[in-house]
């Protein structure tokens, strides 16, 4: 059966991913269910919604101190433009296709993200849970291998 292409949004955003930043981005991009509860997509064929937030933790290993953990104020994310967003999108399209997801949103921060703030957000809708869980693990692995984003620690 021919399927309507699943909506995919993959973007690098110049701020931490607060709820307001997320909502503003989805709205700006005309995302179909920006304000709807997760399950209320039109087709009602979605059985699982999975959401991952990557958060800046208080401590990071400091390579210049032999890898011992040191207190952070923030991480400064640097992206190689426009390749970073392009790779993020390539991975998103690949994974949506491979796992037959119903939709995918991937947002990554550029610039300063403070401790406790969200730097990476991944939302997947899927008919069944197994695909979404497998797809999420794979997405994050691919992100960490292929998306040209680097973090610079800002120590306390």
């Amino acid at each position: 059966m021919a399927r309507t292409p699943a909506p995919v949004l993959a973007r690098i955003i110049d701020s931490p991913l607060t709820r307001d930043a997320e909502r503003a981005e989805l709205l700006l991009q005309g995302w179909p269910h920006a304000f709807a509860p997760a399950g209320n997509s039109v087709a009602r064929t979605v059985g699982a919604v999975l959401r991952f937030e990557g958060i800046v933790r208080r401590g990071e290993p400091d390579p210049s101190a032999g890898g011992t953990e040191r207190e952070l104020l923030a991480l400064e994310y640097q992206a190689y433009d426009p390749m970073a967003e392009r790779e993020l999108r390539r991975i998103a399209l690949d994974i949506v296709e491979r796992h037959a997801l119903s939709s995918l949103v991937a947002l990554h921060s550029r610039g300063r993200v403070g401790v406790g703030e969200v730097s990476f957000l991944l939302i997947m809708e899927s008919p069944h849970r197994a695909e979404a869980l497998a797809a999420m693990t794979l997405f994050i692995d691919m992100l960490k291998q292929d998306v040209p984003i680097w973090k610079k620690p800002i120590w306390r």
């Binding site: 960490k144 291998q145 292929d146 998306v147 680097w150």
Partner: protein
Amino acid sequence: MMEVEVLVFGAAAIHVKGGNVVVTVGDRPTVRDVLAALHEQHPDLRFAMPPIETGRLAVNHVFATAEHPVRAGDEIALITLVGGG
């Protein structure tokens, strides 16, 4: 002979001024040739470099493998040890 500028990021960039290095390669170079020249001419970056035979570089913002030709004017980048997420 030709000079190729290679953009360098992240941890690898700590050892580099201005965010790029220049390597000298023969005519009609491939990604493999540029990687070999990086290994030879910038040993400081070896810790961050992919293997010459199996490694990849980004050529004009797309990952390219060893056989890919590198032409004058291409934007070449060494992309390793990324840290997103």
